[in-house]
Amino acid sequence: MIVSAFLRGLFRRGGRTALALAGIAVSAALLLDMTMLASGLTGSFGQLLGVSGYGLRVTPRGSLPFDSEAGIAAGDDVGRRIAAVPGVRAVAPVLGAQFYLARGDSAGEPLFTSGVDPRSQFLYRIVDGREPGPGEVAVSEPLARAERLRVGDTIRLAAELDVSLGRARQTRAYRVSGVADFLYDYADQRSIAMPIAEVQRATGRPGEVSLFGVAAAEGVDGDSLADRITAAVPEVSTYSTRELMAEMDRRLLYFQQLATILGSIALVVTALLVSTIITIGVRERFGEIATLRAMGVARGRVLLAVVVEGLVLAGIGCLVGLPLGLWMAGRLDRILLGFPGIPAKMTFFAWEPGRVLLAMGIVIAVGALAGLLPGWNATHTPLGRALREEAE
């Protein structure tokens, strides 16, 4: 009864309670976003790496995927040696290059070109048509939209530009075999994929491979498989999904620390808001509380009522803050995905129910704790003094 009386008092002062709730909601939303940001990109990157089943990357020794122009020589041989390592289910070679879309004598913007083994690749999913064969390409959806390409159309591509003549050198016609959803492309990136032998021939890099994607057999640990591949093929570096995520973590250290700082500030603001509201509310009802105590109501029950008041404030603030935080996360994600080279399929703000619940639980706990101190003061002030102060 006392608890419900206190709560009714909270909502009787509707204006200030609404303001406090708004403040707690904004703080909770900020904390939620920072919680989602702290692990969002790395988690999302990890999911993207594993989505095709190729969880390991094999690169030229000492380099990360596409971090340098270095290539692995004698790619066929290296690929066979990797495939022979126990625990390897499939190996997918990739050669990265830059091709130009030729229009008559002139060349258009460069296209990121991947040479792949169409029977074993992890870079894209065909959404229309089929995998490219010899003399064929799969084009990304943004490229298909921009150039109005359809399956069966023909495009002319050049691997080189002739600086002296001012035009594309050695153009060749390719048939569009399919339109594909490229998993690692940034928004509106124009990409193509074709058989790796075509890229090796056109770029004059016979046998070269930029990286291999490796799929582990079921039940095989990625880290130990990476170690076995590195031991069997010493001229390459092998990264498991965990190692690539750790590298991503290292590069995004700034965002993670920023998220921690802003999340902490949001918690402090919540604590200040709740404690201010509760302190003033308790001060206003000092006499009321003293009277209850004089009537014989136990201190514990009064303290419980004050703590529940803080709990309810923080809880409702969280309920309002949750959708606000999700909306804010969407807006902030749109800003951050503007980073050059970030795949459009990734997100900076990952929804992880466990972490979200933890963040909201912390806000509610902070709300309850914030009510503890004023409640303790009110219930432990000598009764005579409390009644006298109220009378004055």
Binding site: R13, G15, P60, G166, Y254, M328, G338
Partner: protein, 270 residues
Amino acid sequence: MLWVATALQAGVPGAAPLPELLVERRLAESVPLAVGDTVRVRALADTAAPRPFVVAGVFEREADPNRIARNDYEVRFHLPDLEALLPTRDRVDRFAVVLAPGADADSAARWIESVAFGTRAYGSAALAERTSATFAVVSRFHDAIGIVTILASAIFLLCVMVIRVDERRRDMGVLRLIGVSRSTVFRAIVLEAIAIAVVGSAAGAGLGIVVARIVNAHYARVYDTTLRFALVTPRIVLLAALLGLALGAVAGALAAWRVVRVAPQKLGER
């Protein structure tokens, strides 16, 4: 780009002088390397034997925010020495061009692009704009977070003012009953709110300066860089103070309005 072998060897007296390179201070400390040491270097994934170079000097890399995330070590070679290490010959990544006095950078850039097909030429300002895309994104993100923070601060300030005014409703009622005008009460509350905002802004600026120093010291240690991640400039302090003043005035006005619109005899009611 380059893999630097850490195997060191003494120079051989009487042999032809070895080519020289410069190593970045962080790399020199990490290996460690000193001027006069010999290092063996080969290109990534190159099967050729590493080539020996003598460390001619140690340099401090300029603070470049573009490279802070990867933060790779750096070595510098004479161009022909580097070319000899790489599989491709007669190739450069970029040229830096110094224009004659009075030459127009834009027209020179267009002319270069027209004679060297496939190249892109940029003036310094355009290049800075293109390479700062990452920082434009970070800046937009900070702006968005700033707006949320301002919103939270405004609500907090308004909440505090409403509570303070509510606490003294009876006093306000008495003041009104003894003849103090609504506008005087209104002004007093607004002034009080502005004073709270000014004190809060001053404390916030002080706290900001301290936090900026801590942040810079932290990231200087993390990235081993002289870059400054947080800057508190007079313009930022002024902007924060003005925002604080405006928020204080608005919060005070809203809180005061809740009191002055009520009849004085009702202000004493609970």
